[in-house]
Symmetry: C2
């Protein structure tokens, strides 16, 4: 059921407190607001970039150290080497699982479905807290460094969103790290913009792909977009690019250990295939179809058992992963190195602890192990090897197939365990493996053409990601930005179109499915077809509407709130002639604040009259704001004396005087569009009006400054 | 005043005719609709791509022929050469001006402001007609081939939009080229999606930049976006890329004359500067500032005089352009060719009629004329030369400065004349000139660094375009796609940020300004600040609302329609108890259709009762659709006999029973957001309701299939 999740209120509530606050704000304050927005955007960019660099440095160093150590030990004993390898992995993964289960449960998984839900209007408990941020950062280091079949890119989106939200509220409340100066964006509405920036920053930092970040936020994550936001989101991504680039420049001199080799482009294949012939389009289409099908077959599990079971489960997965990634290459025969071209700069076998193709593992002088090159390696390196050009016949079909089956199964099992787990890099691994397989086949069929297996690996990666995530433009741009090869763009587009079409024919996208598993009721952008035949009135059913009177006795208010768990109530008043009139909508959360603070209680059951002067507002607007990612006040937090219960509250100053309304016979399709496009939480269904006060047309909205 | 322009109706009008039509549609029809959508998308892509190729082939051949001829003649006589050059230009430009003034007046200018207006909800007369398409294609060939300081890229967006709209209505009505099979998208709402695809296709074809096209449509042109649309727009762009690429491949063998050399990437500078140092950021920021300022100083004129004056004006501009572009290089001394590097493939001087740097013009054997290289050349070639790397010191500062001043003035004068005129390429010319000037300065200051002047030219171009059009992400992607240099992305972002900020500090963007000049009242995405303090009721003023009764006498209907020029009227009915009730909104255009067709006239003043069975609909839904880009029916087209005037019409089956309504005290900010986000035309301001029938929350909208 949906009772665990709560919607967010993105509507501007134009009550008296809001209007008074607005009236106070002068030009200087507006200028200051704009300034703070840009400062926050650059802070979000910087913060996310630094977090990404930190995670990268840690992961690369853990992994580099792990592989060098293991490599050194296996010169003496395979078993000791395996034991060390397995134990290091286990320790890293265990630390990650403990952080998640004990300290930050909301940091498990990729986090993108939750953020998507947040921007769609659904609050998941705890996703934007400081502890979640910390848990996500250190948890990712453990799970990725521990060699599990998952990535750090999805978590970085969540990290970006957390950083954005925390900066937006001026720091963490719980840890008393708040700055008063940044604390002017308190509404959910403002926070939504910041979180959008954070998402883009996350992708930009993860893939060093600033344009891709903007598009990802736009296409995949947000449900809602303003063109003004594009500009700020773009700025945030630019900051990320600049900071990451500077940090990498600084690391180049070796200050960051194993991190810092390689350029800004993650998997640069700009030296690869430049052109393609029409015969190649068929195998490429086949790659698209495979991508769609494999992504569809992939199942998502969510492990919901107790904490201990979760930790044990993660440990088992880690051990299995270690056994497979160490054991399988052992059974694979070594391959003699090809005649290396001195110019290409590709060493065979590569030196231990360095980047490159042709991992030596247990092999002899001039030999390498192709399965170890992809299995006994960090995922980034494995992908670089799979994408690499001028390395035809590096891998045997048998090795690739083994790897594909094993890694695919590992990825399915790993996902849903209690560690931060991104889906991008495993997807790229799987996709590029079958892509390279197809590429090997194509190379052997069309021997005359200048074909690179790496190109097919890239297309495979695109097809698998497209088939699972169903992104289009953003994925295209990300693939181009991570490989620096613009010439392949039409081909990437082609496989994406096919794999997405194949996937769409069967099921929903990965993130939608995960959101469903996690109980996040996303509102899709398109209304369902049968909504055309339902009217707004029918959609509400025959439920009796729960009203509040304008002046309510505290006792009655309490009992109404206790009698149901609705979150918004229409408020009715009576005109002089005795007719009822709906004067607005009051939120449960605002009522609870009023009941808790008690300052507005009055003895008289008479409403406040405008003849008594302006309504005194005894509250600051921020009191009504629900803290980020928490349940807010509950009815059980209210403690009232018997005297209090006999008092009254006039709700008029606190209600939303102009909630959105729809006539009762509007079709649900139109209602849906209104609800979804404006990001609403409540919509009142009302009878037809008795008269029209005026008509608003374009002319009325063309006001000059 | 805004009386000349009309709004478009994007709202779904759920009247009886619509509901009956919906009920008839089965699953097969829905599948067919989806199929047709995709077929249309690919046709739009193919059509736009072919139009672009046709324009390119024509322009390149006219220009190539013109320059070779002139070059041959000036070997004998400068004056004869100039005369031929001037006359060819004049002939081309004159033909363009005649097409525009005599045949397709709506094809003048860039067309982007009009299309932007269309997607914002404003119809400009004639912009999407078949004749406009033809006029735009041939007009562009004349004006660009005639060497004026304007481009063909903006017009291509308009061409794409025209093709989309024509395909959407199944062909041209006037020329009886219609296909019944494609004719299922008759509403403005469907047409809007198609036109969006067309815009993206236009940019994709103009710059061979598929991703850039999607982003341009999203960021600059549309006011409204659905994520489903992204997918289809992207598909259209992909088709464009494939078709253009195939056409270019076909042309490579020389079948298309001067067109077809050069790759898919227009100004490939991937061999240029790879990295940059921090010292360079300052001059780059300066470029950004210059871009913002120059773009701000640039004025827009719209020449509104009679047709003859317009033609004469264009001819004068053409002659001045010819004089300047031929004469100025004559005064410039020739420069000896640099020691050419045999490897670089750059010839000096280049052979006549070929692409390349170092135009010889009147110079000797081993000399070239730097001013002629940019002036006496097609704009595409000039830009290629300005962007080119490894040609340090090709241009003298004096030549660049002369060119900048002259071309800037020409661009200002040319724009607003009666020819199709794009703003992209002139903007790139201007920007790359001052960019290269700054680059020359930087090269001479930081002599040790590996700096290419061409990089600065590219940044200059980005800064000028950013400063004038105020696009961000789309411009970035377009710049990367036309130059194939991803490494410069952070730098392009930087200059764009600065130039846009500088521009925004002074005025609005180019397209907004042009829209204003042309009287297109765009609704910006952000509401004005003072709207917070205005309520919906205040915004309507104290105008008396013009109602229609449910059953109206034909005579009264006519007189109401004549008495005002509103386009929508609330319809009121009376309940049994005698109270009035607003039962919907009727559009003027629908009323006119009813009055013209007369089939719904009845003798009795009694409303149709539901006891008499289902309401008979004697109209096809398409009868109510306003033809594209035309004024539709007017009150003067209605001819009624005295008998007719005494009859009645029951409006109930034809009205929109669920128009959007807002309560009277909603702030105009909220109203604006509603109006703009849903693309409305009419919004009824109503008093507070007397009761609430139900509440719609997220739970009510989560309906399973
Ligand atoms: N004040 C009310 N009176 C009567 N019915 C209501 C009222 N508010 C909501 N409902 C109905 O109750 C159902 C859902 O209740 P609820 O208020 O919990 O909303 P929700 O969809 O869970 O959203 P939220 O996340 O805001 O709680 C809906 O079907 C809605 O029609
Ligand atoms: N039925 C009506 N009764 C009274 N006033 C109306 C009515 N319809 C529109 N108005 C008012 O008339 C003014 C504009 O008139 P008009 O109907 O021409 O709209 P418009 O803004 O020009 O849009 P369009 O492009 O649809 O004509 C607005 O200020 C609006 O408040
Ligand atoms: Mg609820
Ligand atoms: Mg009007």
């Amino acid at each position: 059921d949906g009772s665990a999740v709560e919607s967010l209120d993105y509507e501007v509530i134009e009550n008296c407190a809001y209007r008074q606050e607005q009236a106070k704000r002068g030009k200087i304050f507006r200028a200051y607001t704009i300034l703070v927005k840009w400062i926050l955007a650059s802070l979000i960019g910087t913060g996310t970039a630094l977090a990404a660099v930190f995670i990268n440095i840690s992961v690369e160093n853990f992994a580099g150290w792990k592989y060098s150590l293991t490599f050194n030990i296996i010169q003496k004993s395979y078993f000791a080497g395996f034991l060390v390898y397995m134990l290091i992995n286990l320790a890293l993964v265990l630390s990650s699982a403990c952080i998640i289960t004990q300290f930050a449960p909301a940091a498990a998984g990729s986090g993108i479905p939750e953020i998507k839900g947040y921007l769609n209007g659904i609050d998941t408990h705890g996703i934007l807290l400081f502890r979640t941020l910390i848990g996500k950062i250190f948890g990712s280091i453990g799970s990725v460094g521990g060699g599990l079949a998952l990535g750090k890119e999805g978590p970085l989106v969540h990290i970006g969103a957390c950083i954005a939200s925390l900066l937006g509220q001026g720091g963490s409340t719980k840890y008393h790290l708040r700055s008063r100066w940044l604390q002017i964006f308190t509404s959910e509405r403002d926070r939504r913009d910041l979180v959008t920036c954070g998402c883009a920053a996350g992708v930009a930092a993860a893939f060093r792909s600033p344009v891709g970040g903007v598009l990802f936020a736009l296409e995949e994550v947000t449900s809602w977009w303003r063109s003004q936001l594009m500009w700020r989101v773009f700025f945030t991504s630019a900051i990320v690019a600049v900071v990451v680039r500077s940090a990498m420049g600084w690391c180049k001199s070796g200050k960051c250990g194993h991190f810092g080799d390689g350029g800004f482009i993650i998997w640069d294949i700009s030296g690869g295939q430049e052109d393609y012939s029409f015969q190649e389009l068929l195998p490429m289409a086949v790659i698209g179809v495979i991508g769609g099908l494999l992504a569809y077959w992939r199942r998502n599990y969510l492990h919901k058992r107790g904490n201990r079971v979760k930790v044990v489960e993660v440990c088992i997965v880690s051990v299995i992963t270690s056994v497979i990634s160490f054991g399988l290459p052992l059974f694979k025969k070594c391959t003699p190195c090809p005649d290396t071209d001195a110019n290409s700069g590709i060493e065979c076998p590569r030196r231990p602890g360095m980047y490159g193709n042709y991992v030596n593992f247990y092999c002899g002088e001039k030999e390498y192990n192709d399965l170890a090159t992809i299995f006994f390696n960090t995922q980034d390196d494995a992908i670089r090897n799979l994408f690499s050009a001028k390395t035809i016949h590096e891998f045997s079909a048998q090795s690739l197939l083994t790897f594909l089956v094993m890694f695919y199964s590992l990825a399915v099992v790993t996902f849903g365990t209690a560690v931060p787990a991104g889906q991008f890099v495993p997807g790229i691994m799987i996709g590029s493996t079958y892509g390279r397989l197809v590429g090997m086949f194509v190379v052997s069929v069309y021997q005359k053409l200048n074909i690179e297996e790496g190109t097919y690996a890239l297309l495979g990666a695109a097809s698998f990601l497209g088939g699972s995530m169903r992104m289009t433009v953003s994925l295209c741009v990300i693939m181009v930005e991570i490989t620096n090869n613009l010439k392949l763009l039409p081909l990437i587009m082609l496989v994406l179109l096919i794999s997405k079409a194949v996937g769409d024919a069967f099921n929903e996208g990965l993130y939608e499915e995960q959101a469903r598993l996690r109980g996040i009721p996303l509102l899709e952008s398109r209304p369902k077809y049968q909504m055309r035949n339902i009217t707004a009135k029918e959609a509400c059913g025959n439920k009796q509407v729960v009203y509040f009177p304008r002046v309510v006795k505290v006792m009655d208010a309490l009992s109404i709130l206790k009698s149901n768990n609705h979150n918004g109530f229409p408020v009715i008043d009576h005109t002089r002639s005795g007719e009822t009139l709906v004067i607005g909508l009051i939120l449960r959360s605002h009522l609870l604040v009023l009941l808790q603070s008690k300052v507005d209680f009055q003895h008289s059951p008479l409403p406040f009259s405008s003849r008594d002067g302006p309504i005194p507002i005894r509250h600051n607007l921020t009191e009504f704001v629900k803290p980020v990612s928490s349940k807010g006040l509950s009815i059980h937090d209210i403690h009232l004396t018997p005297d209090d219960l006999e008092m009254y509250i006039d709700l008029a100053p606190f209600l939303n005087p102009s909630p959105y309304v729809v006539p009762e016979d509007m079709s649900l399709t139109k209602v849906y569009n209104l609800f979804r496009q404006l990001g609403l939480r409540h919509l009142l269904v009302v009878p037809h009006a008795s008269r029209v006060v005026g008509m608003i047309t374009r002319k009325d909205l063309l006001i000059e400054d």
